[in-house]
């Protein structure tokens, strides 16, 4: 970004581009599905037509859910990668999603129709455990927090395996599908609305904290010397990343890969200034999951969960980018 740092103009440009990409992804998600629709009927908005109901009552809310999930996961990845100062960090690395998965698995094993509420409670429980284990008095230092999270993750994964093994075979199938990560056929408007509000407000909040993200990404010492209350900031980042992860996992289960890789792709192209990384990751993550979900719903005889495609397609794409990119600029050269 030249010799003047990131300017408001630069952010306006990337947000404008992000809105454009998001609009294209939205159009793709509405137009793509297991069956083709007659757009003359769809655009009447007349719900007596099956095609209109398909697009406006099923594909639209699902695309919105995918956008929220993708944005939350990508931003959660950005925040956690700074917090534990590790490029391998994803929103799932601290075990918060594993808490959600265990909650969902237990609910499904008892025959619940929806996994969402149980997943949310599971996430909250895991957040509380990791927060205490990560030692908030000691400012949630990177390494101890990372270790605490990874161990909570491992413990919860064992519990998830146990629930899976003892569940009835029919429930086990539902648990597996949930664990892959994907979107249900129907959504409560209220859950979409609350997910959108949480994600949007935290995105704005993290954008306003982008200089603190920049400083803490370098070192806690530099942040402290630059007048940042490091302990408070690390707690804010932890709670923000946790809330984003919980929102995403509650809506869609643990969709893999998005939160790990979208921040890296953004850094490979734009460098590691979070005034750009935060907004671009939000839009990029949203568009990526929308496209992945719409594609997954239409490439097979039956609709596949989005989580099948995010890693299968995103992984090879990322490896190609990683070969040619400026890794020093992205902070990936050490």
């Amino acid at each position: 970004m030249g010799s003047e740092g990131v300017r408001p103009r630069d952010v306006a440009v990337v947000v404008g581009a992000g809105v454009g990409v998001l609009a294209l992804a939205f159009a793709f998600a509405l137009a793509t599905g297991p069956t083709s629709v007659d757009w003359g009927r769809v655009l009447t908005f007349d719900r007596t037509w099956l095609d209109a109901r398909k697009v406006w009552d099923h594909r639209l809310p699902r695309a919105v859910a995918a956008a929220i999930t993708g944005a939350a996961l990508a931003l959660g990845g950005v925040v956690f990668q700074v917090l534990v100062r590790n490029p391998l960090a994803s929103p799932y690395i601290l075990g918060i999603s594993a808490g959600g998965s265990l909650g969902a698995a237990i609910a499904l094993a008892f025959g619940a129709a929806f996994a969402g509420p149980a997943a949310f409670l599971g996430c909250l429980a895991a957040v509380a455990v990791v927060f205490v284990a990560g030692n908030p008095r000691g400012a949630l230092k990177s390494t101890s927090l990372l270790l605490a999270g990874v161990i909570v993750n491992a413990t919860l994964s064992a519990a998830i395996t146990f629930v899976n093994l003892v569940a009835a075979p029919s429930d086990r199938d539902r648990i597996l599908r949930w664990l892959v990560g994907g979107f249900p056929e129907a959504f409560e408007t209220s859950s979409l609305l609350s997910g959108a509000m949480v994600t949007a407000s935290l995105a704005v909040f993290m954008f306003l904290r982008s200089r603190e993200l920049n400083l803490i990404a370098v070192s806690d010492g530099l942040a402290a010397r630059s007048g940042v209350d490091v302990r408070r900031m690390r707690i804010e980042f932890f709670l923000t990343g946790s809330a984003l992860t919980a929102a995403a996992v509650t809506l869609a289960g643990p969709i893999p890969f998005v939160g790990l890789v979208v921040p890296h792709v953004v850094r490979l192209f734009l460098g590691s200034d979070h005034r750009l990384t935060v907004p671009v990751s939000v839009f990029g993550g949203a568009a990526f999951v929308m496209v992945a979900d719409a594609s997954a719903a239409s490439i097979w005889r039956e609709p596949l969960p989005a989580g099948v495609l995010t890693a299968a397609i995103g992984g090879p794409m990322f490896l190609v980018m990683l070969r040619s990119a400026d890794k020093e600029k992205a902070g990936l050269d050490d």
């Binding site: 010799s3 940042v228 590691s272 400026d326």
Partner: protein
């Protein structure tokens, strides 16, 4: 109000029951270049961090132009005192300007952009450290001497009147060590008060004042000629010192330990 830097009865460290720095008192006049000398692990960095307002003392007080750096907000402190740690993570992908600008955070409001005055201050700090031509260069592509000048610019970009520098000349070759001290002399001539931790005794004797931490942790201060005597240095470091004089120069203390060569079997070079 007393001008300059003053510590009085200062006690600091990691645990209050066993402080590293005990009852330390010393002064450094306004617009002076002071050096702090002492052996590894004796508490030089701890003392520096405490004076910088980054580590609360267990007892005693710090005054910078009469102001207690522990009693003021972070933005005010950034405009008062700059601190350069001995070692820090270097974000290799950042340009010098962006790296220096990071430290302007203390003086900025909630809107997350650098104002024109922040960019101007960053360029001015780089300029003062003879590093403005490096503004667009990445830290990963710099030599040790260049990087040290950029780090120094970051320490002073808040407009600090006091600079606390922890071994800014270590890892540097003789020419760059001398250039670093010449740079500090230039900053001091502009009115900055600087306290520098160093093991370069030849350069330390050229400072306006010296703070010596003895082996027992006791702090003595005064003019370098009075403080950095061979006797005091010998006691502080545990090796004998002698004054060596190059023609036309001030005598400098040099350590006189047994040379590796004298004890070794003679070998062809």
């Amino acid at each position: 109000m007393t001008e300059g830097m003053e510590v009085f009865g200062l006690s600091a460290g990691h645990v209050a029951s066993n402080p590293v720095i005990r009852d330390a008192s010393a002064k450094l006049g306004s617009g002076r270049l002071g050096c702090m000398v002492g052996r590894n692990g004796v508490g030089k960095s701890t003392l520096l961090e405490t004076i910088a307002g980054l580590r609360a003392p267990f007892a005693g007080r710090v005054r910078l132009d009469g102001v207690d750096p522990h009693a003021i907000s972070a933005p005010v402190r950034a405009g008062l005192v700059g601190y350069l740690p001995q070692a820090d993570v270097v974000p290799r992908g950042l340009s010098a300007l962006d790296y220096v600008l990071l430290a302007r955070r203390a003086l900025q409001g909630p809107w997350p952009f650098d104002r024109d005055e922040d960019v101007a201050a960053a360029h001015a700090a780089l300029e003062a450290c003879c590093a403005d031509p490096l503004a667009d260069r990445r830290l990963g592509a710099m030599s040790g001497g260049e990087l040290q000048r950029v780090r120094l610019a970051q320490a002073m970009v808040g407009g600090a009147r006091f600079l606390l520098l922890d071994e800014p000349s270590s890892h540097l070759d003789p020419r760059h060590r001398i250039e670093t001290f010449a740079l500090l002399r230039g900053l001091v001539d502009r009115g900055i008060t600087a306290l520098v931790v160093t093991h370069d005794l030849d350069l330390a004797t050229g400072c306006d004042a010296a703070w010596l931490i003895g082996a027992d942790g006791a702090l003595t201060s005064g003019s370098p000629d009075d403080v950095l005597t061979p006797e005091a240095l010998g006691a502080a470091f545990g090796v004998p010192f002698q004054l060596a004089t190059a023609e036309g120069r001030k005598p400098i203390p040099v350590p006189m330990g047994p040379t590796l060569r004298a004890n070794a079997r003679r070998r062809e070079p």
